[in-house]
Symmetry: C2
């Protein structure tokens, strides 16, 4: 199978490596607008060659989109214009806008909307790693809107990558990821800004920051272009969660201001319930 | 050397193990009010015996306090009443209140105020681990207020545990830890409450939560009693940081509400500067 990966960064590059490692692709073509990323992707062996999009589509059996979600929305209709029997899939962190924009496209059924739930705070071709995706969940959205053979190909690939499949519609997906992914990134970015704003003694941060701080602030290293696009695409859900989060922080603030020890403890005892859900 | 560890939980238990592992203590006596924790500490081999506080003080060369910071404040004056030549040290996450309360004590100089910057989100004797503290920083506060031999003993122990020593006064310590530790815990507790409040489909969290969410929310599993005590002791600094953090979150909120893509990206580009400080 010849596969085109559009956007050879963290996700696209890792996907390309995984396809080769699992023997799923005989050739991987990279499509990438950044010249430096093109060069790195070839040097690192992430892709076999770099081509223009149209030529790559023509040669491929599968096209995998791993560009920021606003770029997926821009590219997808014109890619679908050109496909005949190819399968097109994406890895975007939001799904509602993407499926909406192509819902009446004549080739809609060649597209499978997916979201593999894996990532790191690093970006670019150098961030690509072997063994990514393994053991993680991947969401396939509204499979009934795609051709059976297209869904089956996508399912086969993700299963061989060691992922477990979760099915939901695009709307539900976007609500859930606002909670389990997007808000974590916002709190982390905001925490970094808090510390950078107020703590002028960087040496102190450097010396004293222990595991707790590092794990909470780690996501603040993530790519601003990727995440601006995600937050904007999912802005209503993210705003909902963000409002709730600010109001939860205000409860802690009120406890401290009023020295309400009992309620403060109660808030944390409630938060401990997260143990039920995450190991 | 005979050492008494008061409070045999995550910190006290791990310290006891480290003393034995490094050959620094020939005997470790545990003082612990919780009967179940007493039993577990003995079963797990964290301490050699469990005794009443007064008897333990009398037998010991060093007394290590690893109880919540409000309990340190309650216990410390009466412990200092009883010491002759023993050294007393604590591991509390706040320092200003503790050094204030004993500043005029006749045995003040036998006490060394310290804060080893290590911990996990787990608590109780079962949470104690071998090799804790290794490679981390430990703060020694206002060493000029302690006897030279007392400081030297404490320095020797921490160095043998593989820690590097940082010196500062109690007031500065409390400001810094509000940034590099306490706020991380509050955001994590509040994030857990946000998700638990609004995301009713726990299965979705369970299935979809990936590394980002887990690392951000991990600290929400921490012990509410320990942390209520820390937040209250350091409430003015924590309130300062919390206010800043809420205002940073509001900037993200305003960007989303006004669809201000450029400023949103700028906020995250600024947050990326944290890369300079944490690896």
């Amino acid at each position: 199978m010849t596969v085109t990966v559009v956007g050879i960064g963290l996700i696209g590059g890792s996907f390309a490596l995984a396809l080769k490692d699992k023997g799923l692709a005989s050739k991987v073509i990279g499509v990438e607008s950044d010249k430096e990323h093109q060069r790195k992707a070839l040097t690192l062996g992430l892709v076999d060659e770099v081509k223009e999009l149209n030529e790559a589509i023509e040669e491929s059996d599968l096209i995998f989109l791993a560009v920021p979600v606003d770029a997926v929305e821009k590219l997808l209709p014109s890619i679908l214009d050109k496909v005949t029997n190819q399968v097109v899939m994406d890895a975007g962190s939001t799904k509602e806008g993407i499926v909406e924009i192509i819902k009446n496209h004549r080739n809609r059924k060649r597209f499978v909307a997916t979201h593999p739930m894996w990532g790191t705070e690093y970006s670019g071709p150098e961030a690509a790693v072997h063994g990514a995706f393994e053991g993680k969940a991947t969401v396939i959205c509204s499979k009934e809107d795609s051709d059976k053979d297209a869904v089956e190909l996508v399912e086969k690939i993700y299963k061989q990558l060691g992922m477990h499949l979760v099915y939901m519609n695009a709307k539900d997906h976007d609500v859930h990821v606002a909670y389990v992914s997007h808000i974590s990134h916002i709190t982390s970015f905001a925490l970094a800004n808090t510390v950078l704003e107020k703590e002028r003694e960087e040496d102190a941060i450097f010396e004293l920051a222990s595991g707790g701080f590092e794990s909470t602030v780690r996501l603040a290293k993530s790519n601003p272009i990727t995440w601006a696009s995600i937050f904007m695409q999912n802005r209503e859900n993210v705003l909902d969660v963000l409002n709730e989060h600010i109001s939860q922080l205000r409860k802690f603030k009120a406890c401290l201001e009023k020295e309400n020890y009992d309620y403060l403890e109660e808030l944390m005892i409630n938060a401990n319930k997260i143990k039920r859900i995450i190991k």
